[in-house]
């Protein structure tokens, strides 16, 4: 049986794109959330903490369903974005949201504890050097814990890459449009194309191994 090359390349590229955008979001949104959560006295900390951690313990399909309700055209958030012609359901945006929500707790929680463990006196020394909290975070704290930061990014990205449940609900598994690699494997098996499923799984294994090796070296150097 002949394997359709497009059937491999399209899902792979789509997955790379999704993970790439999620990666930027992890840095842009995950890092500030981890920093905020490191303040024990923050108001509404419990709310933020719950919001971030929930996808870790809640079934992905259920999370996907709630997001569908929220982000749908008539949903609380979706109706707002619909005015600007931005939609999340059955689009690439939905895939990114799914990967991001699934990976966020794995990005935020370990990074939060790394920031909390960073010595108070070094932060204070920076403040007394005339520098503000944000400057200290960017130029002292994050560079000092960069290995933890990279490790968090790798773990969160692998989670985003393998995401199925939320992706299925938000993306809709439209072939050629929102079928990421994991979903493409499911589709292939469903259609009886076992060779295609095998090749796609093989590609996922190789990518995961690359991530794993990266993680291993980060831990070894520590």
């Amino acid at each position: 049986m002949e394997i359709d090359l497009q059937g491999i390349i399209n899902p792979t590229l789509l997955t790379f794109k999704t993970v790439g955008v999620s990666l930027v979001l992890f840095l842009a949104v995950g890092v500030p959330i981890a920093y905020l959560l490191s303040f024990k006295k923050l108001r509404f900390r419990w709310f933020l903490d719950t919001f971030v951690t929930l996808p870790l313990i809640f079934p992905p399909i259920a999370v996907g369903f709630f997001l569908l309700l929220l982000l749908g055209k008539n949903g609380f958030i979706g109706s707002f974005f619909a005015r600007f012609d931005i939609s999340f359901i059955f689009t690439f945006n939905g895939l990114v949201i799914a990967g991001f929500v699934a990976g966020l707790p794995l990005m935020v929680k370990p990074l939060q504890s790394a920031i909390e463990l960073f010595p108070m006196s070094i932060k204070e020394a920076s403040y007394m050097s005339g520098k503000g909290a944000f400057y200290t975070l960017v130029f002292i704290i994050l560079p000092s814990i960069k290995k933890s930061l990279f490790a968090c990014l790798i773990i969160a990205s692998t989670r985003a890459m393998g995401e199925v449940g939320i992706t299925l609900m938000l993306g809709g598994n439209i072939i050629g449009k929102t079928d990421t690699m994991s979903l493409a494997i499911y589709n292939a098996v469903f259609d009886g194309e076992h060779e295609l499923a095998l090749v796609l799984s093989g590609v996922l294994v190789i990518i995961s191994l690359i991530f794993f090796v990266g993680l291993h070296f980060l831990q070894k150097e520590r």
Binding site: I122, A125, S126, Y127, M128, S129, G130
Partner: protein, 282 residues
């Protein structure tokens, strides 16, 4: 003139304590802040630095750092702070640590030359010894040419010979930069060598305040010398009583009368003094 009049409730290991300090300091003074741990010394330094809040006023010359209405941000107070654990920025070299505070390469080089660290300017903090790290920390604290230099037991983690060397450097820098320096210390010789005024805190209140000699010398009356120590044991030998006392790292025996022996109890902190006329030093 620096005026400090602050108070703060502290919840320490000995229960609640009211830190209440009213202190006027002349500019250029070197103050040693002494007292048992938990007496509020570090908290006082942190309040001065703006790292902790308290009620009251702090005025430095014409500037108000804190009063009823305002509290100057820690970033805006002209202070240098030296921590006991050095607190160097681990991701930066020695030189970068200094330049982080102020982009003044000439001053940084000058400070490193004074503290004999020029050769190490490109090293990372984790590769330096404790004494070297604390010197970098001292240099970094002076990069802003601070009005006030605050040091929280800067030398207590170092060995005696390194301490003596750093004491000299601290004094040198204090004079050259004309800072008002406040240093928390437990070491009488250090206080005597460096400070022109010693302030003792006990349970949050100032109990002694004077020159190093007045505060630190424990003799009274016609005593020529006196030492504080812990009474370990009282033994009866024939008709006399011998008290065994630990002073510093040494054990000494002192003959006491029967009445004295009865009034003393083991574990008590006692003072051993003598009027001996000509003690010898060898």
């Amino acid at each position: 003139m620096i005026k400090i009049d602050i108070q703060k409730m502290l919840h320490g290991s000995n229960g609640q304590m009211n830190l209440q300090v009213d202190l006027n300091i002349n500019e250029g003074d070197f103050i040693a802040l002494a007292g048992r741990s938990g007496s509020g010394k570090t908290t006082l330094l942190r309040i001065l630095a703006g790292l902790e809040n308290a009620k009251g006023e702090i005025k430095v010359g014409e500037e108000t750092w804190q009063d009823k209405l305002t509290c100057k941000a820690v970033q805006k107070r002209g202070i240098g702070f030296v921590f006991q654990d050095y607190a160097l920025f681990p991701n930066m070299s020695v030189m970068e640590n200094l330049l982080y505070v102020a982009k003044d390469r000439d001053l940084a080089k000058h400070l490193l030359r004074l503290t004999e660290l020029e050769e190490l300017q490109n090293r990372m903090p984790s590769t330096l010894s404790g004494g070297q790290q604390q010197r970098v920390s001292l240099c970094r604290a002076l990069m802003k040419r601070p009005k006030m230099l605050l040091m929280d037991e800067p030398l207590s983690a170092l060995d005696p010979s390194m301490r003596a060397k750093l004491q000299q450097e601290i004094l040198l820098l204090h004079r050259e930069f004309e800072t008002t320096t406040i240093m928390v210390s437990h070491d009488p010789s250090e206080m005597y060598r460096l400070a022109n005024r010693v302030v003792v805190l006990e349970n949050g209140k100032i109990t002694q305040d004077g020159s190093a000699k007045d505060v630190l010398l424990k003799t009274s009356g016609s005593q020529k010398f006196s030492f504080e120590g812990e009474l370990l044991d009282i033994k009866k030998v024939d008709v006399i009583y011998i008290a065994i006392i630990a002073i510093g790292q040494q054990i000494v025996e002192v003959v006491v009368s029967e009445n004295e022996a009865k009034s003393l109890h083991v574990g008590q902190i006692v003072r051993v003094g003598t009027k001996a006329f000509a003690p010898t030093i060898s």
